[in-house]
């Protein structure tokens, strides 16, 4: 059971961290729990479908279907986050001021929740399909129903608890800086996803690696460790990145930052109010 729990935990952790950042970023938005819940549910359903069709995916695109699929999913999530972050930069400051003025988490207008719900779905989909495949292998390998159910419960519970801890930690950020903080977190999340997407394209030999291993910081912080994996999921930490991953990371981060600056310039009225 312990082995099952550990693998399930590791996969759930990455998705849970994404969910908690998204949940924090949508603070104060009416209906967000429903949207994000639907995003998770769609991700779980998609995981099962994807796991069942793993063979077809693997054989697609001359055996590189998996890399193309993963890269596409990651880049789609990057696009959704970028759009949301830039939207937030234009509206977030105003919202924070309103929330501060009213001293409560009140309805602060409609916001584009669909983009972030899709990000959640894609995150759950990627990690979830691996869990389903693993559990199918375990069941076929003679693991009992009790072991599997217990492993799932422990793994999902542990992953969800870690995500919740991150969320509660984020809530301690003063409301004045809150959306700025979650927006920067989303920016780093997107940059990390772009870097992972690039790694899949290198793995499929579709883009040059620009240095197969630019550096190795695994002795300092291994991705096997919980902290390393957490940073991997949150800000794209990679102990042994290829050069092109750095390019994708920086281009994504800088593009979103520029987008936020260009469209997020405070209007005169808001500056005075602050």
């Amino acid at each position: 059971m312990a082995g099952i729990a550990v693998l399930v935990f590791r996969e759930v952790l990455e998705a849970a961290l994404v969910v908690s950042v998204v949940f924090a970023a949508t603070r104060g938005v009416p209906g967000r729990a429903r949207w994000i819940g639907a995003g998770i549910a769609a991700g779980v359903l998609g995981s099962i479908v994807l796991a069942v069709s793993a063979e077809a995916v693997a054989e697609a695109a001359a055996g590189m279907g998996q890399e193309l699929f993963n890269a596409t999913v990651l880049f789609a999530a990057v696009a959704m986050i970028a759009w949301h972050a830039i939207w937030m930069a234009t509206h977030g400051r105003q919202m924070a001021l309103q929330m501060q003025a009213l001293g409560a988490e009140v309805s602060v207008g409609r916001r584009p929740l669909a983009a972030l719900a899709i990000v959640v779905t894609l995150a759950v989909l990627r990690e979830g399909s691996e869990i389903v495949l693993f559990l199918l292998a375990q069941a076929a390998g003679g693991s009992g129903a009790f072991d599997i159910a217990g492993g799932i419960a422990l793994g999902v519970g542990g992953g969800a608890a870690t995500g919740l801890a991150l969320y509660l930690g984020l809530l301690r950020i003063p409301i004045r800086h809150f959306f700025t903080a979650t927006n920067w977190l989303l920016l780093l999340l997107a940059a990390g996803m772009a870097s992972q997407g690039a790694r899949f394209l290198v793995q499929a030999d579709l883009i040059p690696s620009l240095g197969a291993r630019l550096w190795d910081t695994s002795a300092f912080l291994s991705e096997r460790s919980i902290l390393g994996q957490t940073l991997h999921a949150l800000i794209g930490y990679d102990a042994r990145p290829a050069g092109v991953q750095i390019v994708f990371y920086l281009v994504t981060a800088v593009s979103i930052a520029i987008g936020m600056k260009v469209w997020g310039r405070p209007r005169r009225k808001i500056t005075q109010a602050a």
């Binding site: 055996g63 390998g141 030999d205 197969a212 042994r240």
Partner: protein, 112 residues
Amino acid sequence: MRLRSSMGFALAFALALVMTNVRADDAEARLTIRSHRFEPAELTVPADKKVKLTIENEDSTAEEFESYELNREKVVPAKGRVTLYVGPLKPGRYPFFGDFHKDTAQGVLIAQ
């Protein structure tokens, strides 16, 4: 118009040549998964070359090929075959494992 198309053709030809050249320089290696073990468990590949690694899974359950040292992960479906690229690698040992059967599925890629 004709000039442009013939230039385009020449460019495509040159590109194809470059690409086939790159392909010809790649090394190839094969792994088989049998009873949740990698065969061979130690696989030697040339250093400083990109390696096209083919993994065939003879088991009736899926496996995930994973390696922190190679920075790679890929699901190998039951009775399926996948390919992926690694390197160019500096000489050394690069452990890999099957994430779904870690207790038995362990191996190492040796670049030399």
